[in-house]
Assembly symmetry: D2
Homo-oligomer: 290 residues x 4
């Protein structure tokens, strides 16, 4: 696969809904009728009879920006009106705007900023927000604005309001890169864009606080990390990616934290990358990752 | 994905050839016109401009056996005549007939026979052939015929002839499950079905004889195994699957062999499974595995 | 490491207890004074100040069987009396006698029996016991006695008694190779030998019944298996080994079961192998695995 | 294991040589006689009869700096004179001085510098040298000197001389963090400290230039990276660490490079970390890694 697919005139069409005969054919036909050539297609169904259908199509369409509206009209009719499906139509050249929220640990944030600078992540980072001032210098070396928004026990609501002021309308996604504050349901409802979190355990094991210490106490032989969409239920949102590494009796909890940090940053970077490329589709409380 | 896709009235269509706009749409249209519903679709191209196109489609078509010929006629016209592509059309219910060739090591063969008995591999095993008599009892406990065909240095040609007599027309694939004899180009040409081999190294490292000893001497930290289609060039055929495990200074060459055997049987079983389900498409000296 | 270390005149000494300066030196001295040569030594401490000390030493001592008693007397004095440690002294040539309990799934049991036949597991298998008759033929093909002991809801106590009659005095360990019955605390107390179980999830995630279905519902991206010593608390005993494989939305719960079976048999075989070689030392509810 | 073992009064003793009965005991005795307490001990032998013996011991000895000379004298007599072994005695608090050589790719270098800053690598970095000016700013943000030493085809000897002027006496190790120049045998002889390189393939597969392209052409299903000590024979020195990741037909050579970069930085950081902690012992053209 070449890198062209992130350039001008490349589009992505995400279709999902109740499975029924003929969806793939209908999508192909609409795209072909508008002059679009399918470059890559992934499709799955949770169950051939009565399940959910998911399709991600990458296509090339000369003058996509101009023709986009006409294509959308046709999709509205063919997919939404006729088949009762939903879809998203995305121009590949339009990178998602991603805000990073962070506390004191730098590893996940730096990995995202490095990869963004290297061109590995198709996203822009309009701002980093932290409840601590510590990482300001690191962030600004990437020419990215850093905002310090303290969160204290009795000012939580005010802090969330300040976050909303900074974020709303400015970003397409929020990433919690080891941000050690719980976001309220109100905030999640208000923000209106997906929020991805990295949890430092192999969920659903060790939900909540102190997972490395609990992993040490339980004597597990693998530790891991999980990237998931944030929902009101802490650590229970749809999982995007997970990975593990092997540990042994030789390692202290501190060593678990150090080595686990490598898994955390790797897992989070993958999840963010896939989300930015519209590879992740939510299916109830699970995800399809193409 | 349910297991229905291996039942009556499910088909698989494998399409490949020079990439060009509209192939996905054309395939969808032909299938839809004949009443087939796409259940799963995988598609890729080696390069959007000037590359090779590959598509594997699983579909459901009531009375497939009856309608197969008409569908094939339409595909001949749409895909072969119009677009210059090639295709294979397979009824899922028709399991491949697989002969296993083996020498003295039982691990790869037993793993295949166990999995076949458990229903994990969609294949039948009409025979096992060995150049040694040792594994006869093990094979026959699975109610599978075992043929002992000795291969000595000066009777190689005669032995290959005997193999051909046993195999030709009776099998759709041959699996070399640690069969320690090199097959001649003549044999491969004559047999006319794919032959899969397991090599006990991570190719292209340690091609040829004694890979574990050479891995030990070189001091590698991972050892592996590779399943590939057999071509005239020993250990150089298209790779289907590879895997590795971690080793250390603590382990002797003997221990490499023991632990490597686990990788060999796992890798070979996967490769055979994928081939049986028509998931592997050859692309020159490489493979696309859907 | 050669295979000699499982032969005549090789011994294993396992030492554990409150850490304190000089243990390694003391052990070395006692062994040297009795003419034993250290072949391999693994040692760890949970915390240099106030932690637990663990050491496994493999040594060669000509006429070990004859000199064993004198060596034990010296260890009693040096390690137990003087330092308050405990130890186990094992002759490597004496293989552990292992009973396998199984229900209907054959994969874990077959893997153990096959590895034992190949000489990969240093153990003998005096019997296999099942609450179902299904696997009798498979077991007896390995020339191993198979006993069918049905367990019904209202005869559980009687069944456990029958198990005890068969097992007590005849085995050094019991392996639950997908045995789908919970053993009572009374039984565990009575049997007096270690019991190893394989649980089909990555503990502590998905304890209890139906882990694959729950993994599917939760949308995890990795599934796994855990081998642990059995205690009264179901699925909460000390973990010996765990491993995972990657899964995706494409796979059904049934497919999780199939692919998970590969992890189960691999993890259980490793745990049993390490236990047989006295590589596993219990440390409260965790294990040290050398 | 706590982090104390890198502090004042902790020492490391590395012993190697022809295996013979009683080495472990002799080492323990010498240490005990000087008041040292063994905190961790790893030991192995390539073959109990006629092989090479290796032992790494971490010990605590109050006033180590003062007592070090007396301990060394005793080791000279006990191990060198009596048993013909060689040893290294290291104070844990003395961090190794490591120079990094780099070209244009930043990923390996940044990972090392960042881990060093976090305290994960027990080393200091007195300088980074590059044959290109590009990474100067990145290096200096870590408060580390950056020297630009161009290497052109006809000034290679002069450039190596300049390198030697900068390095000799100032560093205990050199790390080639994707440094795209071959070092001459003369340079390696002159520099007199270990040099570690990261090669972007799973050695011995794809030695030399362009490994990702060759991996793509060969159609391998895993790509990897290898950290090794540099010898005169390019890519043939003793391997310290290797790892791999899974790839597929979907990925271009460019994508191999991107994803491979993650393996490169991870493998190199591990190798450097282990070397800094004296965990790596050379054994001919292989390594023992404790």
């Amino acid at each position: 696969m070449t890198d062209n697919i992130f350039a001008e005139d490349y589009g992505r069409l995400i279709v999902q809904g109740a499975d029924q005969p003929g969806i793939v054919s209908r999508v192909s036909t609409v795209l072909a009728e508008h002059g679009a050539n399918v470059v890559a297609l992934d499709q799955t169904t949770s169950d051939p009879s009565g399940g959910q259908f998911f399709q991600r199509t990458v296509f090339h369409l000369p003058e996509l920006s101009v023709k986009r509206e006409a294509l959308a009209d046709a999709l509205d009719q063919s997919l939404v009106d006729d088949l009762g499906l939903s879809y998203r139509l995305v121009e590949a050249k339009r990178q998602k705007r991603v805000a990073i929220l962070v506390s004191k640990s730098d590893h996940c944030m730096l990995d995202l900023l490095w990869r963004q600078r290297r061109g590995e992540l198709r996203m822009t980072v309009p701002m980093v927000i932290s409840n601590h001032p510590d990482l300001g210098d690191d962030v600004r070396q990437f020419n990215i604005p850093f905002f310090h928004v303290p969160v204290e026990k009795n000012n939580k609501e005010a802090a969330e309001k300040e976050h909303l002021n900074l974020l709303k309308g400015n970003v397409d996604m929020v990433v919690l890169a080891r941000y050690m504050q719980v976001l309220s349901g109100d905030f999640l409802g208000e923000i209106g864009v997906p929020v991805i979190n990295i949890h430092h355990s192999f969920l659903p094991a060790f939900m909540g606080a102190g997972p490395y210490q609990r992993a040490k106490d339980r004597g597990v032989k693998l530790i891991g990390a999980t990237a998931h969409y944030v929902t009101e239920d802490l650590d229970e949102g749809p999982i995007i990616e997970q990975d593990v590494i092997r540990v042994s009796h030789r390692e202290s909890t501190r060593e678990f934290q150090r080595r686990g940090a490598d898994v955390e940053r790797s897992v989070l970077s993958k999840a963010v990358s896939w989300h930015c490329d519209d590879r992740v589709i939510r299916d109830g409380n699970t995800t399809v990752v193409f």
